[in-house]
């Protein structure tokens, strides 16, 4: 009996931040709630006495003394609660722990529920993070992806996806192989073997209409200090360049000039025939982490904390030589620059490790806007300290940007922020969009935003205009019931503080894609074929719109019938 109870109670161990479990007559650490080792939830119980309790602990944990919460919070408080055996009682939430910081409080829930044949969701407890993770139930009417296809070819983390044309894409990762796939059928078209170490950058070199060589090229850079040029149609290795002093970390193509650039510890310029045209001197040991093209034959490179503008001098009547010149150093970031993209022809945006977002003018390289208060949206003082402690820089580092005409979307730590270029402020945010860092985001045409994260999930958001400020979205699903897909509506406490008109839009979660068992590194959106995600679990998943696929299959079916001559159309 005892055993079975324990097992039973193990099931709901699905707390988002904390964990719950059931260990007879024994205290035990279950899981650190934060990676930094901040919060722990501890629980013990004795099934025999049908008594249990939960404790939350923050700080370096030593079991005998459940003390030491920073900020003076006395988190050692715990209470014991008699667990009712009546499974038909309604689900209740009970805070088992009180501390001075309500945000750190945890609750343990027990209960049962709703109807005769539905099992109670037994114990559940979690720590509620500062901004609870928004969850969505099983009912996702707006989520179009109802089919998936798992593609397996890699043996290590798949980090890069690149679109080749309307129906093909290539994937690359730490196993050093590049695989070309058919996005429609999921068929593996080619496997490109050549690199001996992990691939650090991949880019396509589109074919020029005027040229004879129609074939699209794929350039891959690897940690083995080579760059290989592949023919994307045949899989042939066109050429291999191995004269690099350092690992090439980024590649970019200047299509206008028909050259490509490789950035490592220095910056090299190559033409289509793979002749080295010119190169810079050694820039830094950390190397160029990002590289984008800006107008006037310039490129901007992120090297550590600084941005360097280079100008490319194409051969003219005067000189036949190519040349690359360092124009300007921009030193406004206080930490390493992690992301760099073009917003439009006139501006580009950079993001740093400590959450600085700077929008630059692409023509005169001046700062247009600066934003760095992502970690500080709440004026609440009592949480301030805790936030600072918990939200280490990792939580506010800007990993990725995407943008449309109006907005820049930033993946900041675990959250998503929408920065309006006109208003020059954050118009919408989702502070904890994922359980851990968001790695890649993309904007879809229909005001939708897709994000993927280290927690292995992909989420689809919709940017909605907010009707009124009062209608602040209440995080609904922070009490996640295992085994019962219903979002619990009764949020126990009002959570979100209004941010003095800071946001005028909201990001609504309209669907999540759960498939990967490890961090989702990147994804690629095909208009016609759905979404491709790649992950550290070595898999690539093709997410498709089931209805549409069904229609396509029917179409192909009847085509085949027609080919076979089996189709007789009624007159």
């Amino acid at each position: 009996m005892q055993k079975s109870t324990a097992v039973h109670l193990l099931q709901p161990a699905l707390g988002k931040a904390g964990e719950v479990s059931w260990y007879p007559r024994k205290w035990r650490i279950l899981k650190p709630c934060h990676r930094e080792g901040g919060l722990f939830l501890v629980r013990a119980c004795s099934p025999a006495s049908s008594c249990c309790s939960a404790r939350v602990h923050q700080g370096p944990l030593e079991l005998p003394k459940l003390r030491g919460l920073p900020g003076g919070a006395s988190a050692r408080a715990h209470s014991e609660q008699r667990a009712p055996r009546n499974r038909r009682s309604r689900l209740r939430l009970r805070p088992l722990l009180r501390s001075d910081c309500p945000n750190q409080a945890s609750v343990a829930g027990y209960g049962s529920a709703f109807g005769t044949k539905i099992l109670p969701q037994l114990w559940s407890a979690f720590l509620r993070p500062k901004s609870p993770l928004q969850t969505i139930g099983e009912e996702q009417t707006q989520n179009p992806y109802t089919e998936l296809l798992v593609l397996k070819a890699h043996h290590d983390i798949v980090r890069f996806l690149v679109q080749l044309d309307d129906y093909r894409f290539a994937s690359a990762g730490d196993d050093g192989i590049v695989v070309v796939w058919n996005a429609q059928t999921g068929e593996k078209l080619l496997e490109l073997n050549g690199h001996t170490q992990k691939i650090t950058a991949i880019i396509t070199f589109p074919s020029l209409e005027s040229r004879e060589e129609k074939n699209q090229l794929i350039l891959t850079a690897s940690a083995d200090r080579t760059v290989i040029v592949w023919d994307s149609d045949t899989g042939r290795q066109v050429q291999r360049i191995s004269c690099f002093q350092s690992t090439v970390k980024c590649l970019t193509v200047l299509q206008r000039l028909d050259v490509w650039l490789s950035g490592g510890n220095d910056l090299c310029v190559w033409n289509r025939k793979l002749d080295l045209l010119c190169k810079t001197s050694h820039l830094s040991d950390t190397g160029i982490s990002a590289l984008v093209e800006i107008p006037k034959n310039c490129v901007v490179a992120a090297v550590g904390k600084e941005l360097i503008i280079f100008r490319l001098v194409a051969p003219t009547e005067g000189s036949l030589e190519w040349d690359i010149l360092e124009i300007k150093h921009l030193l406004d970031h206080q930490d390493n620059i992690l992301s760099l993209i073009n917003v439009n022809d006139l501006s580009f945006v950079t993001g740093s490790h400590i959450g600085e977002l700077i929008i630059w003018d692409a023509l005169d390289w001046t700062m247009q806007a600066y934003e760095r208060n992502f970690w500080d949206p709440s004026p609440q003082l009592d949480t301030q300290q805790e936030i600072k402690l918990c939200q280490k820089s990792n939580d506010i580092s800007i990993h990725h940007f995407t943008c449309d005409e109006e907005n820049v979307f930033a993946a900041v730590g675990r959250g998503l922020y929408v920065y309006n270029l006109h208003m020059k402020r954050v118009i919408a945010c989702q502070k904890t969009a994922h359980d851990s860092s968001v790695l890649h985001i993309a904007k879809l045409p229909n005001r939708q935003l897709i994000s993927c994260s280290e927690d292995g999930s992909v989420r689809i958001w919709e940017l909605r205009e907010k009707q009124q400020l009062a209608a602040e979205p209440v995080p609904t699903g922070f009490f996640n019931m295992w085994g019962f897909g219903r979002v619990n509506k009764q949020a126990s406490q009002p959570v979100k503080k209004q941010q003095e008109n800071a946001t005028s839009c909201s990001l609504e979660l309209i669907g999540d894609l759960i498939g990967h068992s490890s961090s989702v590194e990147m994804f690629l959106y095909f208009e016609d074929h759905g979404l491709v995600t790649c992950s550290a679990d070595h898999l690539i998943i093709l997410w498709k719109n089931g209805e549409r696929e069904s229609g396509l299959r029917s179409l192909r079916l009847f085509q085949k019938l027609e080919e076979n001559g089996d189709l007789y159309l009624a007159v």
């Binding site: 055993k3 079975s4 324990a6 097992v7 039973h8 193990l10 099931q11 161990a13 699905l14 479990s21 005769t116 044949k117 539905i118 099992l119 139930g137 099983e138 009912e139 996702q140 009417t141 989520n143 109802t146 089919e147 998936l148 296809l149 798992v150 397996k152 999921g186 068929e187 295992w482 085994g483 019962f484 897909g485 219903r486 669907g511 759960i514 498939g515 990967h516 068992s517 898999l539 998943i541 093709l542 498709k544 089931g546 696929e549 069904s550 229609g551 299959r553 029917s554 179409l555 192909r556 079916l557 009847f558 085949k560 019938l561 189709l567 159309l569």
Partner: protein, 936 residues
């Protein structure tokens, strides 16, 4: 008229079984003693006719020139099987009805002995005293040391059920022909080797003699030869003659028409051997030794021996064993084939027939049957392809009917035909013909016949049986149209005898017969007489006259015909030709009336015609048989640890095709609980496609699965949503601590799982590691181990993470977490108040329901206007509403049932479009629907 007591006794039995009310009582004078075995068992099924053996078996006998008929071996080789049955006596019986046109020796007008490539003869023989009925297949093997170079053998399938033999005649004949062909091929090889050795010996002897003669010549210059020298010279001459004779024999054996072998798919290596042989034929100077090892692979230097001039015809010399005669490799292959036959025909006749019909019907649904049928059918399909290769050599014969064309074995067990069989009986064994042609011929048959003439033939034909005193034999042969095409015109003129006449004639003969029935159909498995022999040895085929023209519908059993033909023939047999009753009725009718020869009716004299009649390749059901051996075969112990016996199709389905052997072995491992199955296992390792053990074990498996499914349905009120999950393609995870229980339930529920294609169902019986997204794409039913420790948390975590793809059935807590189901389909499929008690019945119920479902899915999938707009302007919404209304109104689907049909439709589409099945997994489709937790 009816007086053969035994036969009438069978009538009684039939009466009891089939016509308890309508059968008019026999007149007093015809009344016979009751069914003699009634005391041994109260019901006729208990033990058929008191046979002394427990079940069917195969007996191989030889007519030894030293000791007469003797049994050699039985299959299965288990004394329990044949019990007290007198094998010696039965061997005598079966060997005494050898109708082979075996002829070897010096024919008149020929200098050398000629080998005759004899056709096998196929006889049905009954011995009601023994309670045994047998299909007897005679064949002749060559042995250089034997008298006339031939050793007659026979293989007999012995059963207590006469009808089974009669109705499965065609199949038995086909299967035994294969076995026989295999034996004979091996024998030819061995014989050729033997001849080569003998030639070497003779050559050596000649050399020695020659030398001796020369020496004597030299020693003796007197100008005349001493008597010794003359003797030597004579000896030399006889050796020379012998050499020539043997060379001729060797040439003959090698000239065996190789094309005959093309249809024989039993011996895969044979062709190479033959080619080998052909190439070897040119280099006869290098004969090989051993007859029982491979002739051409190991060739130790053979030292020729001196041959005594006078060979000692002694009876104490040891005759070669069958294995020696046939080359070990071929011998074992034959044994494999025979045990395959034994497995194939195991079980009740009704069962065999039903499964034949079943399979034939299934073949018609070739688009949908992959969904829920066993993957045994795949084998069938493969076999089909093999069979569609013309199996017989005759070139201008209409190609053997492919199986698609003849889907339904025609089984006429209607009252009408039964009654008519009392009146007039004729075995109508139709030859494979085109419809029109056949019809035409039939008409001519009926219109123009000459009773007198044919009566003579009949008489002649019956003489043998009269003299035998206790049996009637019905003799008939098929001939190929190719050979006899020249006699077509004659045929229509001369032939047929009215059925009535035949009957009366036959009946008069039957009065003589005491206790046995024999039906002989000499349908040679090959036409083996080379053309040059035909002319010179008409006597070799002197039974020719009794052979009907193949074109005229020579006797053969027609177990099935193509659908259009079916109607016609049925009609015909009802209306105007009461005599024309399908072979399947033979069993029924033969109880009251003796089976009658139709063959004499069709005979005509065709002096120089040649018996060259390939049997029709009409093997409706030789593959994929199922045998129910749960009754007596499964030992109680094996039944108890049933969970052990579940076949584990746990291989990745996509690899299953490639790794079939592996899967076989795994199946074998599981099914090895009974000795019978393990004997199959050995069979399965061979390349005989039909011996796929899944087919064998599946029956017991099905029964048990049905039973357990029934139990599940009765036990769990939430069985419906669980089954709905399976049918709609949502993976069902069966979670439990006890592996045996989980496996049992998974096996039971697997009957509801649609397959992706022609391979194993996507079912994983037992998994203990955390599940992964790939698993849900691959498997639709998973048994998952619950580990009650922190280590198991990962498993549960993964399960909850992927909860949207799964339904979870928790066996320990008796809960089910899955989406709501409100349809009407599953309640019908799985009614917990069902009156069905037996597992196999329930299984069949499920199958029929699922077949119905499949047909709905088929209609939905292939309705053009449901999926494609009828004109350009049509919107998708309109299309969708049309789909919805079709599903709802036309197909009558309610709520979630729509999802089931849609899922099946997707599978159908994929399967139809797939070029090579099994290459990829279909995508994982899912819905965003809330799940509920059900509890008892």
């Amino acid at each position: 008229m009816i007086s053969a007591p035994d036969v009438v006794a069978f009538t009684k039995e039939e009466e009891y079984e089939e016509e308890p009310y309508n059968e008019p009582a026999l007149p007093e004078e015809y009344s016979v003693p009751l069914f003699p075995f009634v005391n041994q068992g109260a019901n006729p099924w208990s033990k058929l006719s008191g046979a002394k053996f427990s079940r069917d078996f195969i007996l191989i006998s030889e007519f030894s020139e030293q000791v007469g008929p003797q049994p050699l071996l039985t299959i299965p080789n288990d004394t329990k099987v044949f019990g007290t049955f007198d094998l010696n006596y039965f061997s005598l019986r079966i060997m005494s009805v050898d109708y082979q046109a075996s002829f070897v020796g010096h024919p008149p007008g020929s200098a050398y002995p000629k080998l005759n490539f004899v056709e096998d003869s196929k006889v049905v023989l009954g011995d009601s005293k023994e309670g045994a009925f047998a299909y007897v297949h005679h064949l002749t093997l060559y042995d250089l040391e034997a008298r006339g170079f031939v050793r007659p053998f026979c293989m007999a399938y012995i059963s207590a059920d006469q009808h089974k033999i009669m109705q499965q005649f065609q199949e038995l004949s086909a299967e035994f022909s294969r076995a026989s062909e295999c034996l004979k091929t091996g024998n030819r090889k061995a014989f050729a080797g033997e001849l080569e050795k003998k030639l070497k010996d003779l050559d050596y002897t000649r050399t020695v003699l020659h030398t001796e003669t020369e020496i004597q010549k030299k020693a003796n210059d007197k100008g005349f030869y001493s008597s010794q020298a003359i003797e030597k010279a004579n000896e030399l001459a006889s050796v020379e003659k012998s050499i020539i004779e043997h060379q001729d024999l060797l040439k003959q054996i090698r000239s065996y028409p190789h094309r005959k072998l093309k249809g024989c798919d039993l011996c895969p290596g044979e062709m190479e051997h033959i080619q080998d042989q052909a190439s070897q034929a040119s280099t006869t100077s290098n004969p090989d030794e051993s007859a029982d090892t491979d002739l051409y692979t190991c060739r130790p230097a053979y030292t020729p021996k001196l041959i005594k001039a006078k060979s000692t015809k002694c009876f104490d010399k040891k005759l070669k064993t069958l294995e020696e005669l046939c080359d070990t490799e071929y011998f074992t292959q034959t044994l494999t084939q025979l045990s395959h036959i034994e497995h194939m025909f195991r079980g009740d006749l009704c069962y065999l027939l039903t499964s034949q019909i079943d399979r034939a019907l299934l073949k018609q649904q070739h688009i949908t049957n992959f969904l829920f049928e066993d993957f045994v059918e795949v084998d069938d399909r493969m076999v089909e392809k093999q069979e569609s290769i013309p199996s017989k050599p005759s070139q201008d014969r209409p190609p053997s009917r492919s199986l698609e064309e003849c889907p339904i074995p025609k089984v006429l067990i209607s009252v009408g035909s039964y009654k008519s069989s009392v009146e007039s009986v004729l075995i109508k064994m139709e030859q494979e013909l085109g419809d029109e042609e056949y019809k035409e011929v039939e008409v001519t048959e009926l219109s123009s016949f000459d009773p007198q003439e044919n009566l003579d033939y009949l008489d002649m034909d019956m003489k043998g049986s009269i003299s035998s005193g206790e049996s009637i034999e019905v003799l008939g042969t098929e001939k190929s149209t190719s050979v006899l095409s020249k006699s077509d015109s004659q045929a229509s003129l001369t032939v047929p005898l009215s059925p009535q006449v035949v009957r009366s004639k036959a009946v008069s003969h039957r009065t003589i017969s005491e206790d046995s029935i024999e039906v002989l159909s000499t349908c040679p498995s090959e036409a083996l007489i080379p053309d040059d022999f035909k002319a010179s040895y008409p006597s070799a085929i002197n039974e020719e006259e009794s052979y009907p023209d193949g074109n005229e519908g020579a006797i053969h059993f027609q177990a099935s015909i193509s659908p259009p033909e079916l109607g016609e023939t049925e009609e015909g047999s009802m209306e105007n030709t009461p005599s024309q009753i399908d072979s399947c009725c033979i069993g029924k009718e033969s109880d009251g009336q003796l089976v009658l020869p139709s063959s004499p009716a069709h005979t005509h004299s065709d002096e120089d015609g040649v018996v060259s009649s390939p049997p029709q390749r009409h093997r409706q059901k030789d593959q994929g048989f199922r045998v129910d051996f749960s009754m007596e075969n499964a030992s109680p112990s094996s039944r108890d640890d049933s969970c052990e016996g579940f076949p584990a199709y746990e291989l990745d389905p996509s690899h299953l095709l490639a790794n079939r052997d592996i899967s076989k072995t795994s199946l074998d491992n599981y099914s090895d609980t009974t000795s019978y199955v393990s004997s199959v296992a050995s069979t399965s390792s061979d390349r005989i496609p039909s011996a796929y053990p899944a087919g064998l074990s599946s029956d017991r498996h099905k029964k048990r699965a049905g039973q357990n499914a029934l139990k599940f349905i009765r036990q769990y009120p939430f069985a419906h949503p669980a089954i709905y999950s399976l049918l709609s393609g949502r993976t069902l995870v069966v979670l439990g601590e006890d592996e045996a229980i989980v496996r049992k339930l998974v096996t039971a529920l697997a009957i509801f799982v649609p397959s992706y294609g022609c391979y194993a169902k996507p079912v994983k019986h037992w998994a203990s590691s955390p599940l992964h997204i790939m698993d849900f794409q691959k498997w639709k039913l998973i048994g998952l181990q619950r580990v009650a420790s922190p280590a198991g948390a990962g498993t549960l975590h993964a399960l909850s993470r992927y909860s949207r793809y799964t339904s979870i059935l928790d066996l320990d807590n008796k809960t089910l977490r899955c989406p709501l189901y409100r349809g009407t389909l599953v309640p019908r499929l799985a009614d917990h108040r069902t009156q069905i008690k037996r597992g196999s019945t329930y299984y069949l119920h499920v199958q029929s329901m699922l077949t119905q479902l499949c047909s709905k899915a088929f209609v939905y999938t292939f309705c053009h206007h449901l999926h494609l707009p009828t004109h350009d302007k049509e919107t998708e919404e309109l299309l969708a509403s049309r789909q919805a209304s079709f599903l709802k109104l036309t197909l009558g689907l309610v709520n979630e049932d729509v999802r089931v049909v849609q899922y099946l439709a997707e599978l159908l589409k994929l399967h139809y479009m797939q070029e090579s099945p099994g290459t990829s997994h279909p995508m994982l489709g899912f819905d965003y629907v809330p799940s509920f937790l059900y509890k008892i």
